[in-house]
């Protein structure tokens, strides 16, 4: 009867949602890229922004089957002091953070120093999902389905020299965008930019990844977009966010928290229930989004439960001294 329906007759459920539509275009573009290069390239959107779905993500080798922390908790409870010291600050203040264009400088003891655009860094990179436990130094923990790729892939590509003993990572320093970096009356009490580091063998370990997404989509800004480190056997602050520089160095880097308080935040900062933070116990932790209000905390595991994979990196080391 009505061959031509009026727009109001079309149920909203019949209209393709915008993100699906966009994803389709992305997907087609990705297919074209795959066809052109002949490899299974990741479908990294050319101008990515938080929330975009990531397609063609492989299941990674390392995945815990523990209950995943709800997306809402993972993205609303963040330690990212560049956007404020309250856990709710980053979700609020990072909303308009510009993650595109983004470049990452590779410097120091490497044969191929370069400044990569984010999309170039990811061009031939297969993305995989890694469901990791995340243990914060503040004695809470989460389970996060990250999307990323092994840090070792990048390291191999840039070819460190024999003098490269450590890898230093630096976060963006941009007080105009990061209110926590502005000089205030007191500020966050940290030196900017944020610096972290790993020993070379730690950085090469297959568990160490560079993450670009979580829960199947591009990293929300408050979680360290567009590129962050994830080293699941260390306290969360080691997993530096919004990386702009990766530098290969001979000497152990001076990290931001180490500078702020060397007695409390060691260079290694491996999760260790036997070594307490000077001001609180590390023996147990609260799993967010899972443990109810009236549940006891759970025991913290050595190396956050990854001892089988990483304990050998520290053979013969006094972990109380090198905490």
């Amino acid at each position: 009867m009505f061959l031509i329906r009026k727009p109001t007759d079309i149920k909203s459920s019949e209209i393709t949602p915008k993100d699906v539509y966009l994803n389709r275009r992305q997907f087609m573009r990705g297919l074209a890229a795959v066809a052109a290069t002949g490899v299974s390239a990741a479908l990294w959107p050319e101008s990515s922004r938080a929330g975009q779905k990531l397609l063609n993500v492989r299941k990674g080798a390392f995945a815990t089957d523990e209950k995943q922390t709800p997306f809402k908790d993972v993205t609303s409870y963040n330690n990212f002091y560049e956007f404020g010291t309250d856990k709710r600050d980053p979700a609020q203040h990072a909303q308009n953070f510009r993650t595109f264009p983004w470049s990452i400088a590779i410097e120091g003891e490497v044969k191929k120093p370069a400044v990569y655009q984010m999309e170039d860094l990811l061009r031939h990179q297969t993305l995989e999902e890694r469901i990791y436990r995340l243990r914060c130094v503040e004695a809470w923990s989460m389970v996060v389905p990250w999307i990323g790729f092994p840090l070792s892939d990048v390291i191999k590509r840039v070819q460190p020299t024999s003098r490269a003993k450590f890898v230093e990572f630096v976060t963006l320093h941009d007080p105009a965008q990061m209110p926590g970096q502005r000089p205030g009356l007191l500020g966050a009490g940290l030196d900017w930019p944020y610096v972290e580091g790993l020993r070379m063998d730690e950085a090469m370990h297959p568990l160490a990844i560079l993450a670009v997404g979580l829960y199947g989509e591009v990293l929300p800004n408050q979680n360290g977009a567009p590129l962050r480190l994830v080293v699941p056997w260390k306290y969360g602050f080691k997993s530096i966010k919004s990386i702009v520089k990766i530098r290969f160095v001979e000497k152990q880097p001076l990290t931001t928290w180490g500078k702020a308080n060397a007695q409390e935040y060691g260079f290694y900062s491996n999760v260790n229930p036997a070594v307490d933070h000077p001001r609180w116990s590390q023996a147990s932790e609260r799993r967010l989004g899972e443990d109810t209000l009236f549940a006891p905390k759970r025991k913290t595991l050595p190396f956050n439960g990854y001892a089988e994979q990483v304990a050998s990196l520290y053979t013969g080391m006094d972990l109380k001294k090198y905490f």
Partner: protein
């Protein structure tokens, strides 16, 4: 028609009493609406701790405000504010012992002994107990005004301890505890200044500081 005295007794004080319960009502509302964020235990713990400090500061503000305004009636609310500080301190303590530690006595004892900020916080809570117990008119009479007042000066140290407890807990951003600390410094400074100056006290019964 109510006279001035009755108005305070039957209107103002009950109103302040109800107002002092609002923070608890808000907290209960947030619990019921599942609105405590990703770390509910931490939220409750911080929230109740904040209100202990606030009520301690309100209690300690009574005397300076009374002196400056000459409005001696303020003194009639001081005990209630002090007891609310104790009330929220009890909730704060419970949130630690129950929600955070789940009554793990060995862990609690270790914490109190080893963690300086907990040692200080716990000490302050224990010191609040005798103040709450001796807050009745009967106890004031029995102890005598002078001895009672000496005992209740403990609240200065409790308030300082409360700020230190907070300062030693934060990781690097000292803004919040320092704001509380600055207000406390003004309130205690006012008393010290009065003592040094031996400023004449406006006629008030008891002349407590």
């Amino acid at each position: 028609m109510l006279d001035q005295n009755q108005k305070i007794r039957w209107l103002v004080r009950p109103a302040l009493f109800v107002a002092s319960l609002i923070p608890l009502a808000v907290l209960i509302g947030r619990v019921l609406h599942n609105d405590l964020g990703a770390n509910p235990v931490e939220t409750i713990n911080r929230y109740t701790g904040d209100w202990v400090l606030r009520f301690l500061l309100i209690t300690l503000a009574v005397t300076p405000l009374r002196r400056m305004s000459g409005w001696n009636t303020l003194l009639r609310f001081r005990r209630m504010f002090g007891l609310f500080a104790f009330f929220y301190a009890t909730l704060h303590f419970l949130s630690y012992v129950w929600l955070d530690q789940f009554f793990a006595l060995d862990a609690i004892i270790k914490d109190v002994a080893k963690r300086l900020y907990i040692t200080v916080g716990f000490t302050c809570f224990v010191l609040l107990i005798p103040l709450a117990v001796t807050s009745t008119n009967g106890m004031i009479r029995r102890m005598g005004a002078r001895r009672w007042q000496q005992l209740h000066r403990l609240v200065y140290f409790i308030a300082i301890g409360g700020i230190v407890h907070y300062l030693w807990l934060v990781k690097s951003d000292l803004t919040q505890p320092l704001i509380y600390g600055a207000i406390l410094a003004v309130l205690l400074g006012f008393r010290l200044w009065g003592k040094i100056r031996r400023a004449p006290v406006p006629a008030a019964t008891g002349g407590s500081s």
